[in-house]
């Protein structure tokens, strides 16, 4: 009787262990497979001109995607400029002022909902709001769409990281006579700084790989991103266009662009881990 129970527990333990290991293995296999495809096909497309020249007409050899690389960096930076401060402020509100209030609860709920909003919806929203009313696609519209996606990520991580700071630390600063805003900026945000930075980098990594929100906003362009107020070249929409094209050279370039984006996102993730490890 006793023995049978023990055996059953052991069997259940093994079953769960094997199922979990299988799940992990499937995840790793696909990740490695995707990375392998991207690296093996993408690396061969890279060259000096890939990073320095404008796209060549279809069928012609040479050329590059320098405009799209620059455009993606600019659009992401613009999105960060808009989305990060707003997200940090919203996170501070959630963690420090809104707790236990009805409005705070509402903001927290909205942030969670916004995190789940499909990115294409953000693109459509900005399309109707900005692109339609201005009458043209623009890099600005792309940055706004990406900022909308960054905001909830940054807000949520900021709120969570600041909530981890013990109340006794806030109280100690207040007890010295510090006003509330100083406590938040100098003590709480400072204690949580590596967490805040992680949230920002995660958000950057997440949105810089987005295509859907840019399809209706920044669109794409074969030219340098001279001004942000017209269609702006970017890597992800370029991948979308080139991969669907019938030209081999463009398909090649799409793999190269995929490689560049993957490497960039990976670099940001590694940077995040490094920062976390060094400061905690």
């Amino acid at each position: 009787m006793k023995l049978a129970g023990a055996r059953r527990r052991k069997a259940a333990d093994w079953a769960v262990r094997i199922a979990a290991s299988l799940g992990a293995a499937v995840g790793i296999v696909f990740l490695v497979w995707i990375l392998w495809e991207v690296v093996s096909r993408g690396a061969s497309a890279l060259s000096w001109s890939f990073f320095t020249e404008l796209p060549a007409p279809p069928g012609e050899a040479g050329g590059g995607l320098a405009n799209a690389i620059l455009g993606t960096v600019l659009i992401s930076a613009g999105a960060g400029l808009l989305g990060v401060p707003a997200g940090i402020m919203a996170g501070i509100y959630l963690a420090e002022y809104g707790q236990g209030t009805r409005f705070g609860g509402l903001v927290g709920f909205m942030v969670n909902v916004m995190m789940g909003v499909p990115s294409i919806i953000a693109g459509l929203f900005v399309y109707t709001l900005i692109v339609v009313s201005l009458g043209h696609f623009s890099g600005y519209a792309g940055a706004v769409a990406l900022a909308l996606l960054m905001l909830p990520i940054v807000a949520r991580t900021t709120a969570d990281m600041m909530a981890l700071v013990p109340d006794s630390l806030r109280e100690s600063a207040l007890a010295l006579g510090a006003p509330r805003w100083r406590v938040i900026v100098q003590i709480v945000a400072r204690s949580a700084r590596s967490g805040l930075l992680t949230g920002i980098l995660l958000a950057v990594a997440r949105v810089s790989g987005e295509t859907a929100p840019l399809l209706f906003t920044a669109l794409n362009s074969p030219y340098w991103p001279h001004s942000f107020s017209g269609p702006t070249a970017n890597l992800t929409v370029t991948i979308f266009n080139y991969a669907m094209s019938p030209y081999r050279s463009w398909q090649q370039a799409a793999w190269g662009a995929s490689f560049v984006i993957t490497a960039g996102v990976l670099a940001v993730s590694l940077l995040t881990r490094y920062i976390l490890r060094r400061t905690t």
Binding site: G100, S168, A175, L176, G177, Q186
Partner: protein, 277 residues
Amino acid sequence: MIAIETTSQAESAPPRPGPQPVESSPARGAIAVRNLDFFYGEHQVLFGNGLDIAPRKVTAIIGPSGCGKSTHIRVYNRIYELYRDQRCTGEVLLDGQNLLAPTVDLIELRRRIGMIFQTPTPFPMSVFDNVAYGLRLHYTMPRSELADRVKTALEDAALWDEVRDKLHHSGIELSGGQQQRLCIARALAVEPEVLLMDEPTSAVDPVGTAKIEELVRRLKERLTIVIVTHNMQQAARISDFTAFFLDGRIVEFGDTTELFTNPVDRKTEDYITGRFG
């Protein structure tokens, strides 16, 4: 004394520059608590507390866990106001002035009444900046004076010799006992009149505890100390007066030796002889 409830306007402008030496007489830092009730939401945890805390003496607050000791002293510097569901009624007079009046300048109030917490709370900055934090908050002064005052505060907290070479290291790198003395130095730097200590040695080893107790004995020459403790030997060792709390009420308050050797109330006797709590 009770009737002088002048809610001050004279208090709003912070004195600048630099803390003034506290004039030696008459002794300042007397606290009178009158009819204090405290509520967490609907839940009342303090009932009609009344207490007269003598200036430049050590007053210990003892009582079983959950009886309201922390809640009581957290009223004095109004730190409870951080939480919107906490409120109190009654009066706390510091040298005759009602601290609970809405006109009181909280920033100046908290300069005058410092607080040390159960777990050390070094700020995420250097040892020097920790101690300078309050000074920079309340005063503008030249760097050299700032450095002098930081040094003095660290000496007062018996920490200078241990950190003189680590002033620019993070405060978080210190040992637990050192961190607690760092917090004491930080509180002392702004020259408060009253120091509230909520179980300041409960997270500190015996050697660190002895240092802090020695410090308390020395500091009462210039400020009023209220210390919450679970350790009755500690209360007996370092305090002049003791208040015994039970279920949110002050059961007995008096001279420490008297209270420990000859308690009036049966419940006090049961507690100090370890029969409950």
